[in-house]
Symmetry: C2
């Protein structure tokens, strides 16, 4: 199994690192991609190496997409490649996990209409306006899309991602 | 099952938060204690509430002790109560997990002699001088004591802690 994380400078550190460590713990290979190959830096100063640029990502090699929050998604959602990757996962019914602002990339990719999900409270109006039924719960599962609101939801978010990943075998 | 984390200001944020979230994911109750009841702040600015002072901790209620790293352990190791708590876990053969500088509290409590473990590279000489066989591996298990070196070891550290916790039922 192979997972893909899309991020950029300004990511919410624990929303990237906790799922990243959890997926490694489970034995998955995890690729981190950004607008270009570089070290990206979180809001709290943690750095991780993005070993792939979005344009180099061929998502057919991945079974799970994770979109962490922070200020990164406002950069990611501008990338046509990031939208293409997200659309591929949704069309193929592959697992997508978004936490906090991570959903902004799905909004820009036109993927939340008539879906059910959650996100950071301060952007719930945007998710609603994009045609999504917004639920204020720690984790919401709508078919292949798992979403959470904020860092304190990480235990429930990770648990559901691991559960669904294992179901996929 | 109930876990106890001892920490203080200056903790290594991911070394506290990742195991904390992982234990919650597993359904454990987790208590965070510090020198007094207060909000403690990590090196990278994350804050968690310590709801117990060390002196209030009765470790017979806990099955697992986690000692994260950062600059916090140099404060914790000065506390007679923190040493008392650590000694209780060791004498009772209850699980103890240390990562990075977390081991400093065990050193001061006189608990590492003739044991086998690991820690952050910069204090491995101190662990050695205290009579411990130091191993440079991502996770070392010596009976009830699980130890790791640094944040990048978190996946292996958490995996082993969960594995041993589940064995204890």
């Amino acid at each position: 199994m192979r997972a893909l994380i899309l991020s950029e400078d300004g990511f919410e550190d624990t929303e990237l690192l906790s799922p990243y460590y959890r997926l490694l713990e489970e034995g998955l290979k995890v690729d981190i991609a950004s607008t270009r190959r570089k070290k990206i830096r979180g809001k709290h100063g943690y750095e991780v190496q993005a070993e792939l640029a979005f344009e180099e990502v061929d998502p057919k090699h991945h079974q799970l997409l994770v979109l962490p929050g922070g200020r990164a998604p406002e950069k990611i959602r501008l990338s046509e490649d990031a939208k293409r990757i997200s659309q591929y996962f949704m069309v193929e019914g592959k697992l997508i996990g978004t936490i906090c602002h991570g959903v902004q990339t799905l909004i820009s990719a036109g993927l939340v209409k008539n879906r059910r999900g959650t996100c950071f409270q301060g952007i719930q109006d945007d998710l609603d306006a994009a045609g999504c039924e917004v639920v204020d719960e720690e984790v919401v599962v709508d078919d292949n899309w798992i979403s959470s609101r904020q860092p304190s939801d990480i235990p429930a978010f990770n648990k559901k991602i691991i559960e669904k990943t294992n179901q996929m075998g």
